[in-house]
């Protein structure tokens, strides 16, 4: 396995004191924290930094690591035969640390998991612990939000294998997505998360709905917008046109003297809400033919000569 140089990861010297290590960690944690960072692979980097800090902040772990570091400078790393970690394990894996870390420190996670809770007396190894909750994004097409849909989803569950290593296992599940879900909404699937430990319940699976951008429709709250191209004469004279909706087409009337950007409401053709259906708005976009023949040009010319219209009147 790959040797991890925790000093290099934190950007500190081998002789760095606790204060320097803490300060380096704080700076990098802010930079890569997945809740805050916009950097590429922030999550991976954050895990690395956290793991490095987990080891270097503890005098006991740091001493163990320094000892082993002598063997691993070449890049690939094997713990020396008969290597026994000085500390005991907690019997379940809490931090999301690398294979390298667990090969040295066994299943000893950090103090990361329980906010102000006691972890059980005397390093107890048999208390039941609920499995990890998993959150994953679920992309949904707008069309599929109108009625209840069955979807097969695939996600990864963290598990601890026979060697005590943390692995990800793919799992598929058929789920019913209720009608009327909206962007960002969460759905819980009880007990479909990570496995419990020592008889504890499984964690839950949370699906976060993400509406997939549609080639025709834009979402505004629960309303939909569809941009409708019309000819200049349709804008001036008015027209009856056919507009697509999420389910089939509807006929609408463009009133005479319509402007570009004007919105026409089509009632009840928006997204499903808890109480009914929102609306669809047709947004008019006036388009001009890419080219016109001599006859058409003559007609435009006649129109220009007859018209008093000044589109830039407001500028004066």
């Amino acid at each position: 396995m790959e040797f991890k140089d925790y000093y290099k990861i934190l950007g500190v010297d081998e002789a760095a004191d606790d204060k320097a290590i803490k300060s380096a960690y704080r700076k990098l944690a802010r930079q890569y924290h997945p809740d805050v960072s916009t950097e590429n692979q922030a999550e991976e980097k954050f895990k690395e930094v956290t793991e490095a800090y987990e080891v270097l902040k503890s005098p006991e772990k740091r001493a163990e690591y320094d000892e082993l570091r002598k063997y691993g400078q070449g890049g690939r790393f094997q713990p020396p035969p008969g290597w026994q970690s000085a500390g005991g394990g907690d019997g379940y894996y809490e931090g999301d640390f690398s294979e390298f870390f667990s090969s040295i420190f066994g299943n000893r996670g950090g103090d990361a998991g329980f906010g102000g809770f006691q972890r059980g007396a005397g390093g107890g190894r048999s208390y039941a612990i609920k499995g990890e909750d998993i959150e994953t994004e679920l992309p949904i097409f707008l069309e599929d939000t109108l009625s209840e849909e069955s979807k097969t989803i695939e996600y990864h569950l963290p598990q601890v294998d026979a060697q005590g290593r943390r692995v990800k296992v793919a799992k598929t599940l058929k789920v019913k997505i209720p009608a009327g879900v909206s962007d960002g909404e969460r759905i819980r699937l009880k007990n479909q998360g990570g496995p419990g430990y020592n008889g504890g319940a499984n964690g839950d699976l949370y699906l976060r709905i993400r509406l997939v951008p549609h080639p025709l429709f834009d979402v505004q709250g629960h309303n939909l917008l569809v941009t409708v191209p019309i000819a200049p004469w349709e804008a001036v004279l008015g027209a009856k046109i056919v507009v697509p909706t999420l389910e089939g087409k509807v006929n609408i009337t463009v009133p005479a003297n319509s402007q570009a950007g004007q919105k026409l409401r089509i009632k009840g053709k928006g997204l499903q809400t808890k109480t009914g259906r929102a609306d669809l708005f047709a947004v008019l976009k006036i388009v001009v033919p890419a080219s016109s023949d001599a006859a058409a040009q003559a007609q435009w010319q006649a129109l220009q000569e007859a018209s008093q219209f000044n589109p830039r009147a407001d500028w004066q």
Binding site: R26, A29, R30, H33, D35, V36, F46, T50, A112, G113, F114, G115, G116, F117, K130, D133, E135, V175, K176, I177, P178, V181, E185, R186, I187, R188, L189, K190, Q192, Y206, P213, D218, V219, Q220, L225, T227, A260, G261, V283, K285
Partner: protein, 101 residues
């Protein structure tokens, strides 16, 4: 099996996050999560609040920010998220009318 609307009491919520009740009370008082119900014993938390409280706890623990600092950070993160979404939405709409980079 699919559940959309679930409410947790303070105790259940505290176990779900997991975060000790006194910390939950603190993040409620700071407005990080706003449960339904006026009295503490009637508080009801939903699953979005669970995600929010977990994020608050991550920021508190992993970045060593105190709770009022977490409240401020989360408010700003929410504003950034809202602005990003609004920007994406407006750009998508604008792209239907004009060519933008």
């Amino acid at each position: 099996m699919t559940e959309q609307i679930i409410y947790f009491s303070l105790e259940q919520f505290s176990q779900q996050v997991p975060l000790a009740p006194e910390h939950i009370v603190e993040i409620v008082h700071l407005g990080i999560v706003e449960p339904a119900g006026r009295e503490q014993r009637n508080w009801q938390f939903d699953i979005d609040m669970l995600a929010t409280a977990r994020q608050a706890w991550r920021l508190h623990r992993q970045l060593e920010i105190d709770w009022p600092g977490v409240a401020l950070a989360m408010q700003l993160l929410q504003q950034i998220d809202d602005l990003k979404r609004e920007n994406e939405r407006l750009r998508a709409q604008l792209r239907r009318f004009i060519v933008i980079d």
